[in-house]
Symmetry: C2
């Protein structure tokens, strides 16, 4: 009987355990250790839990530990932290955080799915009550409790989570201020696109202050204000949402190779440099198909896929994860905000000779009531006219249109190819020339 130890019980870890067990059945013993109290949670839904739209923390769970253990015959140990790996001798040391005991468990295969940690601001006062990051279900519960009694909330960071949480806090009736070090929200969008989002957020009575250095958080016992180079901002709740840092400590201990992104390096089989040690999810890199090199873009979808590929390979198959193209979608107040591939900035940074084109077109036929403009921003490689990226913003019809562009990037299509795509047309859903086709026509002619 082989034994697989999975460190981390969220998307990548559970996908790996499930796939391996499904394939090897009684020939493998798969065990999952999760240091938090929850497994299989949808971190992307946490803003909706904090706001109250999703009523219970349990509603964030995809599959319960009981279901998982019964249906898949995989024991789940929550509140169990793997604190050390002895790779040579093939065992891990586990701290049982409930019973405060430690034990060793042997393995043949190891799946490192340790996830990521929210970046902190690196200033004094971060440990004050009322200062939060948001990754785990416990984080979400604590943040909700804190915000419930707050009048003023400060969000440090203008990425997806910061902006989704701004909406959540506004829904809760809070006075919300976003503090951002750089001048642009949503750094991985081009500036003209993130400006549209900023306009929407400001229109919902959120104060946005850019170019801010946070100096400290202050308060007696609990946070009362953020102190910045532009003055003090009152806050009984602070959310630090500055992105994620991959949890690579354990991996490093045993000599697992870390990539240039700072996350665990894996090949397309999700293997690390060490035999029988796999990784995937928010602690690992993924191959970026457009960039042609690894990237660190921690998202649940990627974690699910990478985990399943790891598990299939542990299970004896030979499967590969072809990689990502960097697709991301977010609802920010009344806007659907989406991107895939590279921004112009990123493309140029990668050495592409690229240009951007932007159009605005209706989401539905002009003959049909309703509908809103969609702004489509395309990044195209100059010589080949190959599409490198797309960004879209609008009140409807954006979230799935971006997936068309994701398929386009996977296929390596040119602007001319996209212009000729046979996209569906019906007046309630699209104009006869879809915004994607209008955008591609401009890109092919520019």
């Amino acid at each position: 009987m082989e034994k697989l130890i999975v460190i981390g019980g969220v998307a990548a870890g559970l996908s790996a355990a499930s796939a391996a067990k499904r394939l090897k059945k009684e020939n493998i013993n798969a065990v999952v250790f999760e240091k938090s109290g929850y497994i299989s949670y949808g971190a992307c839904s946490e803003p909706y839990f904090v706001s109250g739209l999703v009523p219970q923390p349990e509603d964030l769970i995809e599959i319960t530990p009981e279901e998982f253990e019964q249906k898949r015959s995989i024991p789940i140990h929550r509140m169990h932290e793997v604190v050390e790996i002895d790779y040579k001798n093939g065992y891990v040391t586990v701290d049982d955080l409930i019973n405060h005991r430690s034990f060793k468990e042997s393995f043949d295969y190891l799946m490192i799915a340790t996830g990521a940690t929210g970046k902190t601001a690196g200033v004094a006062g971060e440990k004050l009550k009322g200062v939060h990051t948001l990754r785990t279900v416990e984080d979400a519960i604590a943040l909700q409790n804190s915000a419930r009694d707050a009048e003023n909330v400060v969000i440090c960071g203008g990425g997806y989570i910061g902006l989704e949480m701004a909406e959540a806090f506004v829904t809760m009736g809070k006075h919300v201020t976003i503090l951002k070090k750089t001048s642009q929200m949503l750094w991985n969008f081009d500036p003209e696109m993130s400006a549209l989002v900023e306009e929407e957020v400001r229109s919902k009575s959120v104060t946005i202050v850019t170019g801010v250095d946070i100096l400290s958080f202050e308060g007696s016992g609990k946070v009362e204000k953020a102190v910045t180079n532009k003055g003090d901002v009152k806050a009984e709740t602070v959310l630090i949402a500055k992105g994620a840092v991959p949890n690579v400590g354990l991996a490093k201990q045993i000599g697992v190779e870390i990539g240039i992104t700072g996350a665990i390096a894996v090949n397309k089989r999700q293997e690390t440099n060490l035999d029988r040690v796999y990784s995937g999810g928010d602690c690992a890199e993924a191959y970026h198909i457009v960039r042609g090199k690894p990237a660190y873009i921690p998202l649940g979808t990627t974690a699910n896929k990478a985990g399943r590929v790891a598990g299939e390979n542990i299970g004896g198959m030979n499967t590969e994860f072809p990689g990502i193209v960097g697709t991301a979608v977010s609802k920010i107040f009344d806007l659907e905000v989406a991107r895939t591939g590279l921004s112009l900035k990123e493309a140029i940074g990668d050495g592409f000779d690229a240009y951007a084109t932007t159009i605005r077109h209706r989401s539905r036929s002009k003959h049909y009531p309703g509908g809103y403009p969609i702004t489509v921003h395309l990044i195209t490689e100059r010589d080949t006219r190959r599409l490198l990226g797309a960004q879209m913003i609008g009140r409807e019809g954006v979230a799935h249109r971006i997936d068309v562009m994701a398929a386009v990037l996977h296929a390596g299509m040119t602007a001319e190819d996209v212009y000729h795509l046979d996209l569906g047309y019906a007046p309630p859903f699209a104009p006869a020339w879809d915004p994607i086709l209008i955008a591609a026509n401009k890109a092919r002619k520019t």
Copy 2:
């Protein structure tokens, strides 16, 4: 100065005239003859005009003749029917249907964009007042006037237009019966998918009778009933919606080659077999990328594209229309109904060794309120695992997801490729495993 005569002033004709004029400017004189009283109308929006959702016939117009003439310097002659072409000597004979006079007009280039005519039932009583087909704006006005006073409406045919019109008539408060010769609605869907649509339509109090032979329409002065092999059905308004027949009479006159589909044969440059004679739109075939041969699927999107390609080539460019994949979307009551590529039936008919797989999955994350199941039906080639077609039905999130599959068909992707697509995920819009990925996973494993 060269001269382009365009026969037909809707999607293909106007696109061709615009593109040619834009490219050759003062060096070409483009003239459009349209036999109806309207140009540039959105036929797909006519059901919404009949129901009253779109208030005025003018709201169906994309661009007015005045705008077209002024902005593009292309004279438009409505109520002018081209009745004869003298190809050898390079002129057409035009009937001015308002002033009842006839004249000749010379051409260097000819664009045949004569569109299609609604199929009739071929039975007695079709000329009775109250019996309609629906193609032109005039048809839509006449149908609305007729239905306004009707209590009972009979629709002959269960395609998109028949079903969209069923919704329109129900909205108008009519008692609606659909009579269908075959047993299945939406013939180009596979039976399990069209059954979902039939269930929806029946739930809206529409009577559906299948396996019906219509024998005649009867009434004194105006229609009062449809007489069928299954008995009489009362009807003060009848809509015959049995599909379209391409208008190829003029083309045939001069020896333009007609394809096996019965529509005008064109190459990818939209050239017919006759030098300087182009065609496109509902009177012409288009190359079907999945089938690898021409098909007759008359749709406005294809007409726009084919027309523009014809115009670009007349204008001196060298462009090709790569073809269609057969994408179509429709709103049928509360359902979004969409398809692309081949149905299983069509694939087998074309000689593919193909299989179908069907899944049902949520439109949104289960963590997020709302959302409905989407049924995804994929057709896959057995040996290569290449996707050949997709059908989707659901209450939301279908109309643009089908476009992802359209891009997939253009790119010739396999089920494995689709399973790995980096599609966007955000709880308000999709589950972490999008229905497309769930469907592809089943297809790749079957």
